[in-house]
Point group: C2
Amino acid sequence: MKNSLGRELPDAEMKELKYQPYQSTEIGNPVISWVAPKVRVSTGDDKVIFSVDEVIKDVLQDGMTISFHHHFREGDFVFNLVMDRIIKLGYKDLTLAPSSLTNVMNDKVIEAIKAGTVTNITTSGMRGELGEQVSHGLLKNPVIFRSHGNRARSIENGNIKIDVAFLGVPNADRLGNANGMEVESAFGSMGYALIDAKYANKVVLLTDTIVDYPNTPASIEQTQVDYVVKVDRVGDPDRIGSGATRFTKDPKELKIARMVNDVITHSPYFKQDFSFQTGTGGVALAVTKFLGESMKKAGITAAFTCGGTTSPIVDLLEAGLIKKVMDVQDFDKGAASSMKSNPDQAEIDTDFNVNVLTGSNGEIRGAVGGHQDAGTAKMTIISAPLTRGRIATVVHSVNSVSTPGASIDVLVTEVGIAINPARQDLIDAFSKVPSLPIVSIEELQKRAEATVGKPAPVEYTDRVVGLVEYRDGSLIDAIKQVKD
Amino acid sequence: MKNSLGRELPDAEMKELKYQPYQSTEIGNPVISWVAPKVRVSTGDDKVIFSVDEVIKDVLQDGMTISFHHHFREGDFVFNLVMDRIIKLGYKDLTLAPSSLTNVMNDKVIEAIKAGTVTNITTSGMRGELGEQVSHGLLKNPVIFRSHGNRARSIENGNIKIDVAFLGVPNADRLGNANGMEVESAFGSMGYALIDAKYANKVVLLTDTIVDYPNTPASIEQTQVDYVVKVDRVGDPDRIGSGATRFTKDPKELKIARMVNDVITHSPYFKQDFSFQTGTGGVALAVTKFLGESMKKAGITAAFTCGGTTSPIVDLLEAGLIKKVMDVQDFDKGAASSMKSNPDQAEIDTDFNVNVLTGSNGEIRGAVGGHQDAGTAKMTIISAPLTRGRIATVVHSVNSVSTPGASIDVLVTEVGIAINPARQDLIDAFSKVPSLPIVSIEELQKRAEATVGKPAPVEYTDRVVGLVEYRDGSLIDAIKQVKD
């Protein structure tokens, strides 16, 4: 069957996993029942233990679902440490449900799959060797891709039932109160791990820094925690972020950034106490800077920003231009480049559908991240150069849909902006702005194709290797195995 | 049947409410399943509404369970406002499940009971006219008394299923983020209301102060909230606390306070990074002050305190003698006297069982509060004068058991201290301290009786008007109707 975007969905998987086809970005106001974990009553017990093996043997059984977070990003030591022991101890048929998978985890995930330790994965994304191998049929069952918001929702309503969460934390006290701050391996907000701590039946913290009780503020609370495992190092501080924030000097990127800023400042939403979310790529960082200048000039301050927090956002906060920052993850040390892989491979089609998950060769090499979730803003802007190398950014039909076109309002490219025809209000607003040449998205697609030519279609087998959920849990697309 | 304390438990209520008899203070490490609420998905909706009636009609049905908190104490306007409308709108057979009931709520509760609006109550306690009338048979079903900790536990495991929580808050934004700080009617920590916000199927905030979105820190979060009702005033700031902290000048109280301090400082627990909880009565405030002086002299600091926070505790925090205060409710303006009713009527028997709930005439006039919960400390000290007026504090058998003797270690009176025979270690420790004359509790009982005589026994009917739970949900005692 096909969903409302015309994407072909696999009947077998739809039936087995009881999927509804994606219908609409309007998710309405359903009343849903949350689930709740089992908890072991404890009375001030010291939970510190020094053996990862001992904890694993205590809590883990074949067939269970285990989770990790990716806040340590490419500096993570916890995932490989734990997964290595799980493989060595001979566990089978586990479902791996991390908030996302970073490159540093790839080898160990591949090893776990080959050993039969992991047979199911749900994640925001995967890249590199892992994405490539999964695209070519490595994993027994399809990977289920979920946005960060959808993952939290799926845990809350029981679609993902986490048996054991292994959560690396920069610090914890002996009873399990933990936060992401104040020590060497700090990563700031622990946003993605909080839902695991709340809903997993067993919560295992791993930390290199045991602090005095009571550790406050406690992002993860002692009542949620079963074990605190003391390890040598949870991560490499230098790789938790990824180097200094890069402010782009590329003239094309700067041009796009200025146009994005013009879109924002000429939209009906640029007014006192507006809110915005910008990304972490070079363009996004420049947009944040330009936007700050425009706000200052116009005498406007923002009520809040949300999403990942970058240095330019902190600058605006400190300048009093943003009142509050709602923080789910931090790119403190300017880890901008770690998320840049998304914009770098973003693809948008003439229906405004966006793909941030699969490359032009059909292989998985990205992450849904918060893309779907952010798309529900009153105005969502995608910025991209028309082409990258020999690859068109604007295409007839995206390789796979991550975010439906109905939630994308404006595409900004260096040759002009395309506005979703559903947004006549924005077309009217921007028609008067000289710096914003409006073109149809079909026109942009044609110009891109004229530049780089028409690529040969990717060849797939019939086997499904990935299922892409929309944030409401419906199925928005399926990813097939790439022919060798 | 009788429980392990020898208290007679009513068979009919035991069976109907599926109670286990109280067995032991050792609750072990059971694995329990928490429950979870139903939530209505919302997407940044403005939840502000100006009509209490409209909200009630939207969410309330006959037979439901409704909750309130008591953080505004005697300054509360919210309870009477909401309950009045519920009565007027003709609702029946509701279960009232507040964190506690303060005197200012009494008349409205009585009215609700007489109207058939409220037929069940679970609370930490009740006082004054309400306690008196309930003791004489006003309410259709027995009141279930639960400690603050047990209430939270009962909500978590589904023993109390809150359909609608009506929570007064000093401030909230239009989406429902709320905290207890920074405005006129602030009461500090919202400890008791957090569990309602988390587990109630519908959460209705009432506030007089709508603040900018996003309101941070959010003790109650927008995802938990269904309505924000704007009302004129949530409370009378002057009566939220109850006047300046009274430091006792009574020589007997000061003597007892010094002895309590000597018990603490000569115990094996008085060492670097110890923790303690003191109450809010005159003696407790003096103990806190004396303890601070002893800590300073000994060069010892406490890792934390918990429980209700008083001015002397804040003084110690500011002096660096306490590292952290874990805060569930604040007596900011020195609301000491509002909790003093407990110590004033505390009764302890020769098995060390404590009664903080019923008076010497058998009528309900107190609250379990955190008494049972605090009793699980490594050392629990009760302080009391031997007699109060013509009433003995130490008796053969308490009128009703709130806290089992197994969790009480030391009784301090002006004529000497009695140590629970189960604590030979403390008997050994305190035998060497000249300022701590050790006497048997039987001796104290005899001296009290010699002073005030033997009271005539209270006469009861066979009807049960109150059930007292232990913190694990077992039944520790039953309270019968007092004969008119």
